[in-house]
Every structure is written in structure tokens, then in C-alpha cells.
Symmetry: C2
Subunit: 326 residues, 2 copies
């Protein structure tokens, strides 16, 4: 969790949490490094590059925060497994999308081909469950295998919807719940289960809300860029045929967008569509929705079963999701 | 387990086991069908086609046989999970190899593209752990997640070795142990763990031996065909750049094979290399090794901690691995 790749909100949370959170997060990082490097020099290189390629580590931090300052080995294992699962998904998603870069670096699929990328993803996914199994947490396996099913279904649904500009907002939100919100929800749930604290379902709801907000803002960022900040070209979603809420809403506001055909789009055309979406109020509406979700999330954890410090730290993470994109 | 796709050895075991094995295997089939069909019509179609595409169901049968005639819900879940894990691997392997057909039918990757194939594989893999988690078997999660790591490492090692004709027999055998033998071993181990019977490690050793024999004979079959029996072209491994024991041994027997270059091989050239391998004694040596492994496997379970029926049924499965290829 050191270095310039760590975004300010996470740093702020780390400072506010005093010693316990950074100390435990360091153990998670160490564990991830060991797992990545534990398969011989060649495999280790690719897996380690994947695990080290920056990233906000939002999900494992949520696990540890949900577990609280008494977080022990069980929570650390759950945090490690959640990040492994997330990384596996990223590696496979990049195969699906044929993505050349992520976070400004070449993806595994671009660097080493789809064969190795499929294998590296399978390895990370399998390792996630092996990590949980060593700790003997039945509830964690149940929760994260269900989340993993949701992730796969969400990705399949997104592929199935590709290039279909008629998909509804409801369908989009359902996809987001599978593809993004569920793992945030699970991160909170397994953290709390590991520590045995109260309010597990409230925390799960908190995670779901900020996960959804995170995805909404990610989809805004695909339209606005700039590439030097997002690490990928503007309109990457459009080029992949992925219809997101900004386009869905903008189509209702600018009739000229209704005839948009995403198949065979050139990068310059995708940018032009981004400009046209940005010229409507759609992005403001999506941002407002995300902010409302963040407020909802904070409301959910406002009850007295959460300590002042918990509310403060979780609130910072929630705000961080918005600030990152402001 | 009905229909003409079931190979004779399995049918014979089913008959010999009287009612309990077919009855429980029918539950596994039903469970697999439900899981495959449980994700909406479109996803169900592909996942179900994968699960129904014949297959010998050797691994779930091993789970049930290792559990014995008292096999209950826990063993049935383990058997289902093992088959889901195996199917996930097949779907992803076909992406890695760009395989057009398996068992004489188009693969998921050929039918629906690599995007869906990656997603369907992830779904099957995730569902395997979800199936185990519902039953609450810690030991099974530990065992099958380790097997899943081994499968991914084996596949990565095979890709990493691709087109390298200098790989050693030891390297090949290590790959086989990861890619094939480990899941047979795990199938036996989780079955026995589920029933609590004695001799778990002996059964694991039995599984390892027949798994390795299975892979050796599979590699012979790639050289000999015929395609109408194997469901794939002769020399498919060579075309994928996969160097197996028949070629490794044949290179020592026919100096002309030492200069073989696998990159850019045409199908007819691959068949010519197959003919040349078959002209040496290499295939007989590999077959003899496989048979010795089968005898080893039977020897391992000859102790009195296994009942007569267990030895008989397991012996039939072991012999079936050879007979299938005779």
C-alpha cells in the first residue's frame, strides 16, 4: 500500500485508522505477494505483475474495515481471497474484451496472449478458494463462491447484451449488481462474519450501495476520460459494445443518439459519441445517482450498532468512491 | 448416465454395483442438469450442452465409489463439484487450444466464441465451490481448491512448454500429475472423506495412478486415432505444440524425429509425424507403462481395509481405463 499509485482517499483512511488497518493491510499485501511468487519464476512474474499492478485494494480494505480493529487471521485470509477473486475477474475480463491496457499498463492478455491469461485467471480464482479453505471458514466459501458465480453471470450477461443499444436501465442495473456490487457486498459480509460483530446485513447493504455507485461513476469516466487518468481510451465501453447508463439516458435526451450503431465503430467515432453523451444532462444524472447511493450507504450504517470510528472510516471510503471521480 | 455415449466399462461397473451406484449417479446427473439450467434460457443452453456432451463421468463415479454404498448428500455434492470443476477445465482448455471439436461436437469456444467460453468456464468453476459450500465440507473445499490450482498450473506449464521439443520425460510426467492425475486423486480423496471410511490415502494413490495411466493412453490415442473414435483429428497435440511422451520416447528411437519443428505444422504433416512415431516402439512402451500403473493402482487397494465389492468395482474402473483404449 505504498507508492504513488495509491489514491488519496485510501491514504486518508489509512491515516485515520491509525495503526491497525495499515498493519493488517500490509499482511494482506505480503500474502498476495507470496501467493503470486509461489509458482516458479515464470508464472510468478505474470501473476505478481497482475497483483502488483496498482489497484486501489478497495475490496480487501472493506473486508478489514468490516472486521474491525479486532480483525485476525480469518479476516486477513478473507481479504486476500477477495482481492484474488477480483484480480482473476479482471484478467479474464480483459481476455473477453481483448483489452490492451488496464491502469495504463499492458494487460496479461496483451502481454502474454489469451492462453496464459485464461490460465493465470483460473490460477488466481482457484487460489482464492484455497486461501479460504486453509482458514476453514465455511461461511466465507459460501459467500465468495456465490459472489464468483454472480461475477461470471454478470460478465456473460454483458457479453450477451453486447452491441444491443435497446437494453433497459433495469437490465443495466441488474448487470451492475452482479458484476460489481455483489463483490463489494460480499467483502463487507465476509469481513463482519470473520469478526463476529453485529450488523452484518447492514454492512452488506452498505457495500452493495457503494459498489453500485462505483460502477456508475466508472461508466461516467469511460465517457469523460481523460485517458491519462483512466488508463484507457475514452469510449472503450462503446468500442466493446457495452451499453451503459450514460448512453441509455442520453438516448432519451438526444434523439440523434438513437440511431447509433456500435458494431464496427472506429475509436474517433466512439469519442464523438462520448462528446455527444456529455453534451446532454445524462452524466450529471448518473453522477447524482451515484452520490445518492453513497448517501444511502452512509445512512444504512448510521445505527448505533456501529462505533464512531467504524462510521467515520466507512464514510471516508464511501466518500472516496465519489471523490476519486470528481 | 443413459444413452449410447456411456462407454462399456462404466456400464459394467453400474451393473456390478447393483442399485446404489446408478441411483446416486442419477442424483448427480439431475443436480448437474439443474445447475446448468438454472441461469435463464440462454446461459442454460450453453452450460447444459457442456454438461450433457457425453463424457464418461469417471471422476464423479470415483467420488461415489470411494464414498461407498453409504454415500450420502455430502458425497453427492462432492461428486457434482468434481464434475463441474472438470467441465470448467475442459471449456477453458478448449479456449487455450482454440479447439474446434471435443467428443465429436463443436466446443463452446467454437460455437459461441472465446468470450462466452471464458465466462461459462468461470461460471462452472465458481458453481463447483458453491456446491461444496452448501454442504459445509471444509476438507472438500481445501482438497478441490488445491486440485483446481494444480489444474491451472498444469495447463499454464503445458502452454509454457508449447513447441519445445526438448522437454524431458520428467517434465511431461510432472505436467500430467498436475493436469490430470491430481483431480482423479482428489475425487477419490473427497469421496472417502465424505463417508469417513478407512484408507483415504490409499484411495488417493489409486486415483493418482489411474489418472496418470488415463493421460498416457489419451496421448497415445492422439497419435493413433482414429478420429471417428477420439472425436478429434490425429496429431491434434502436435498441432497445438504439446509434446507428449510418445514423441519424447520416439525421438530417442528414430533420430529423424529429432529435427521435427512443430511451429506452423500443417494437419497432413502432423499425421505424418504420428505415423513415424507409431512406426517406433514408443507407443507400446507408453501403453505398457499405463498398464503397469493400472496394476499398481489395484495393488494399492488390495489391503483388507477395502471390502471385496470395493476392490471389485474399483478394479473394474481401473481396467476400464485401459480397455477403453485397447
Amino acid at each position: 500500500m505504498t507508492g504513488s499509485s495509491v489514491p488519496p482517499p485510501v491514504t486518508a483512511v489509512m491515516d485515520a485508522a491509525s495503526a491497525w488497518l495499515p498493519a493488517r493491510m500490509a499482511v494482506v499485501e505480503e500474502r498476495l505477494g507470496e501467493l503470486a511468487g509461489g509458482y516458479g519464476p515464470k508464472l510468478g512474474e505474470e501473476a505478481e505483475a497482475t497483483l502488483r499492478a496498482g489497484g486501489k485494494r478497495l475490496r480487501p480494505i472493506l473486508v478489514l474495515m468490516a472486521a474491525g480493529d479486532g480483525a485476525g487471521e480469518r479476516a486477513i485470509r478473507a481479504a486476500t481471497a477477495v482481492e484474488l477473486l477480483h484480480m482473476a475477474t479482471l484478467v479474464h475480463d480483459d481476455v473477453l474484451d481483448g483489452a490492451p491496457v488496464r491502469r495504463g499498463r499492458p494487460t496479461v492478455v496483451a502481454r502474454s496472449g489469451r492462453e496464459r491469461a485464461v490460465g493465470v485467471g483460473d490460477l488466481l480464482l482457484s487460489r482464492a478458494f484455497a486461501e479460504l479453505a486453509d482458514g476453514g471458514g465455511d461461511a466465507e466459501v459460501a459467500e465468495l463462491s456465490a459472489a464468483s458465480v454472480a461475477l461470471a453471470l454478470g460478465e456473460l450477461a454483458q457479453r450477451s447484451d453486447a452491441y444491443d443499444t435497446s437494453i433497459t436501465e433495469e437490465r443495466y442495473l441488474w448487470r451492475c449488481s452482479l458484476k460489481t456490487a455483489r463483490l463489494f457486498e460480499s467483502a463487507c459480509r465476509v469481513g463482519r462474519l470473520a469478526s463476529g460483530g453485529p450488523g452484518t446485513e447492514e454492512l452488506a447493504g452498505f457495500g452493495r450501495e457503494i459498489g453500485l455507485a462505483f460502477q456508475l461513476l466508472d461508466d461516467v469516466l469511460d465517457v469523460t476520460g481523460p485517458p491519462e487518468r483512466t488508463g484507457k481510451a475514452r469510449g472503450t465501453d462503446l468500442l466493446d459494445g457495452t451499453v451503459t447508463l450514460p448512453l441509455i439516458l442520453a438516448r432519451g435526451l438526444d434523439p440523434g443518439l438513437e440511431s447509433v450503431e456500435l458494431r464496427g465503430l472506429a475509436p474517433a467515432e466512439a469519442e464523438a459519441i462520448c462528446d455527444r453523451i456529455a453534451a446532454t444532462d445524462a452524466l450529471d444524472v448518473v453522477r447524482a445517482r451515484a452520490r445518492a447511493g453513497i448517501e444511502n450507504a452512509k445512512e444504512i450504517i448510521s445505527s448505533r450498532q456501529f462505533s464512531d470510528q467504524e462510521r467515520q472510516l466507512l464514510g471516508m471510503i464511501a466518500d472516496g468512491v465519489v471523490e476519486r471521480y470528481s
